[in-house]
Amino acid sequence: MSDVWIVVLVVAAFTMVFKAAGPVFLGRRKLPVRAQSVVDLVAPVMLTALVVTQAVGGNEEIIVDARIPGVAAAAIAIWRGAPIVVAMFVAALVTALVRLVA
């Protein structure tokens, strides 16, 4: 089997098990209260970490570029109650404009 197919199949197998971990192995069983309060933090923690990697991520480096003004403009829009799609549009527009000019 070629290297490409080994990569495709092994990555798929791991990812499928990761995604199924909760629904298949844990199911509807309730977690203990303290474990649940840890799990409750997964969403906000993961989402804010994703904001960081998406906004300043590079190849094993932090890159400050046109994404910053875009995300900053979107943050203002979000905190003023703009819908998600508007926030995304603002971020894309500002970032694309800065890249165009720079």
Binding site: D3, V4, I6, V7, V8, L9, V10, V11, A12, F14, T15, M16, F18, A20, A21, G22, P23, V24, G27, R28, R34, S37, V38, V39, D40, L41, V42, A43, P44, V45, M46, L47, T48, A49, L50, V52, Q54, A55, G57, N59, E60, E61, I62, R67, G70, V71, A74, A75, I78, W79, I84, V85, A87, M88, F89, A91, A92, L93, T95, A96
Partner: protein, 221 residues
């Protein structure tokens, strides 16, 4: 009706919720197809990967390692590390999946960052939103990969359109409703700090995984 009096969401509400995201998976799927072709993957291999792994960043990581001449092992490790975060996400959403184990297995494959985050936007996870959003994203991702790997490099860089910043804005908008309690804000700030410290020194994926340790603040009363 749900207990708080809102009408229960349907799968089509999930599809609708994901509509604003359409340009993302479309353009990134196209560019994954292009990159995969450059990395020596056949169109079939690229499409099979999108259909089975269904996780953009990991697929990009694997393909770019191969394109740079890296080993299969290096490609696997970088992609798998990027996807470890799905263990946490799937545990957080575990209780919403109905039915038999095989059914839960297949439906859980629709978990990606965007569908998972949209499903949790009301403060608790909603199965129809996850499935509706996941299905739309899945169809877009697989079909645009196919197109990209056939059409090749006629497309520009999706980042020129500011799509990378748009996704940062998406995650920020989805995080906002959670950031009310002090403990949650504290955990989020710890996660940001861990991510920033690790990004320059650790391979992609590791910062996100280690940042999830901030969830342990939940143990404090």
């Amino acid at each position: 009706m749900t207990s708080d009096g809102r009408p229960a969401p349907r799968i089509r509400d999930g599809v609708r919720a994901a509509l604003p995201l359409v340009p993302g998976p479309l353009l990134f799927g196209l560019s994954f197809g292009v990159l995969a072709e450059a990395a020596g993957m056949s169109a079939v291999a690229a499409v099979v990967m999108s259909a089975t792994t269904f996780a953009g960043s990991a697929q990009f990581a694997a393909a770019s390692v191969l394109e740079d001449g890296g080993t299969a092992l290096a490609a696997v490790v970088s992609a798998v590390l990027l996807n470890v975060r799905y263990v946490g996400q799937s545990i957080a959403a575990a209780s919403i999946f109905p039915g038999s184990k095989p059914r839960r297995f297949f439906e859980s494959q629709l978990i990606v960052d965007e569908s998972w985050a949209l499903a949790g936007r009301s403060g608790r996870f909603e199965w129809p939103i996850l499935v509706g959003a996941g299905l739309l994203l899945y169809v877009l991702w697989v079909s645009s990969t196919a197109i990209g790997s056939v059409v090749g490099g006629v497309l520009g860089d999706p980042d020129d359109l500011g799509l990378d910043a748009a996704f940062a804005a998406l995650f920020l908008a989805l995080a906002k409703p959670y950031l009310r309690e002090r403990k949650t804000v504290a955990a989020a700030l710890v996660a940001v700090a861990i991510t920033l410290v690790l990004m320059p020194i650790a391979p992609a994926g590791i910062p996100l995984v280690v940042a999830s340790a901030a969830c342990l603040l939940g143990l404090r009363r």
